[in-house]
């Protein structure tokens, strides 16, 4: 709280003139002074009331300026974050790849990434940082860059997540954690190897049988266990993408979309849509998903970030 100066006045000045001059100065935005209460009776009450009013105006202006500063910070973070998301989709002959990204707030906690590990291997990351706004965005930046750098050192997704956790834990604040699903696609064989740190399972549509499988390698979210009492090892799973197969990676902002009755969209609907659009492209799958999400949630506002990556093998 700043110390207030008293409004300077001459002793022979009329009290009303003094009040008018004070109010005029306040109107110009000068809230740094307080009107001295010198008059008796009702005029004194008026001087006190004006001081209270100007005090409130001063507090409101301070709050507004704080908000303006926060908005400016958020804008900068948003710009930084938008540069972190891939600006183009990877080109893998025979595989159609699409993404969906809809942050719920000004700064989202989700991100996805494509990493060109080497000419034969593409890394695909989808993650959800618990803790939005500026601090969440900062953590996301660190996680993204750590995964990127580790991905260049090994083709084992489990090892990448394990090393990422090891590197990040000492600096992560206790209320933060990150769920990550990381997959490596072999461009030649279309084999996918994946590992999971507490993220929702990958959906795999087997086109030949037209049925879905949930691929869920075991592993805790990064940041969950800090005292070393649980192993960091991340299980790995591997599967081939056959012609027509569809792979869907997503964050819980999609499955948690709620309707008016408070029920969630759920995972089962994802597999129904995949089966329902089997034989068609990744684009048709995403369009069907978006339209079902919209009709399920009705006019309810989006509660969480929605992020997804879909791959479909065409050849």
């Amino acid at each position: 709280m700043k110390a207030m100066k008293l409004w300077g006045h001459k002793t022979n000045e009329s009290p009303l003139k003094k009040i008018v001059e004070f109010v005029n100065a306040a109107q110009q935005g000068d809230f740094s002074v307080t009107l001295p209460v010198t008059s008796p009776g009702e005029l004194g009450d008026l001087e006190r009331a004006i001081n209270r009013l100007v005090g409130e105006l001063r507090d409101n202006r301070d709050r507004w300026e704080e908000q303006k500063a926060i908005q400016k910070e958020l804008k900068i973070s948003r710009v930084i974050q938008s540069t972190l998301l891939p600006s183009t989709l990877p080109d893998v002959p025979g595989v159609e790849i699409l993404s969906l990204y809809r942050p719920a707030k000004q700064i989202g906690g989700d991100y996805y990434d494509f990493i060109e590990i080497d000419p034969n291997h593409l890394g695909i990351v989808i993650a959800d940082v618990a803790g939005k706004s500026v601090s969440g965005a900062m953590l996301m930046t660190i996680i993204r860059n750590t995964i990127r750098s580790q991905a260049m050192l090994t083709l084992s997704p489990g090892e990448v997540l394990e090393r990422t956790q090891r590197l990040l834990l000492p600096t992560m604040m206790s209320q933060f954690f990150v769920s990550v699903f990381y997959a490596v696609l072999d461009r030649r064989t279309k084999y996918m190897t994946c590992a999971n740190a507490g993220h929702p399972p990958l959906l795999l549509l087997h086109a030949a049988e037209n049925h879905c499988e949930w691929i869920k390698p075991g592993g805790m979210a990064i940041g969950l266990c800090r005292n070393g009492s649980k192993p960091l090892v991340k299980e790995e799973k591997e599967f081939p993408m056959m012609i027509g197969d569809l792979v869907f990676l997503y964050t819980d902002g999609i499955t948690d979309v709620a309707n008016r009755e408070g029920r969630s969209f759920g995972r089962e609907k994802l597999s129904e849509i995949a089966v329902g659009t089997a034989g068609r492209g990744a684009k048709e799958f995403l369009s069907a998903l978006e339209s079902q999400l919209a009709s399920f949630s009705g006019d309810l506002s989006q509660g969480d970030d929605m992020t997804a990556v879909v791959l479909r093998r065409n050849l």
Partner: protein
């Protein structure tokens, strides 16, 4: 329908334990209320916190972040954080996916959680 509500029960026989019964949806908005409750209980020397999830219908990732941050705080004071009666499959699934059950003790009954709340050696 899914309005969030917190009810605190202070067991007479355990002045160091508090039971927090949650109902509705715990999301980014409702965590503020719960965070305040937790802080008040910790200041009141309730180091062992039992969260009863019987009527909890949804928990967002920010809600889980709150539990995680709280765990660090109570453990520093020799306390504990446990969960009881997780009834909603979606809540169970969300916690299980992240690996919460590897970190937090979970009990079928609230009374069992209260009895087993103690400082870890």
């Amino acid at each position: 329908m899914n309005e969030f509500n917190v009810e605190v029960h202070l067991p007479a026989t355990r002045p160091d334990v508090a039971v927090i019964r949650l109902s509705g949806s715990l999301d980014a908005v409702s965590i503020t209320e719960l965070e305040k409750t937790f802080q008040e209980l910790i200041q009141d020397k309730r180091r062992h916190l039992v969260v009863n999830c019987q009527k909890l219908r949804f928990v967002s990732s920010s809600g889980m972040g709150l539990f995680l941050g709280l765990l660090g705080e109570v453990e520093k004071q020799g306390g504990s954080l446990s969960f009881a009666q997780i009834a909603e499959p979606e809540v169970h699934d969300a916690m299980s996916l992240l690996g919460f059950f590897d970190v937090f003790p979970v009990y079928d009954q609230e009374i069992e959680a209260v009895q087993k709340s103690q400082h870890k050696a």
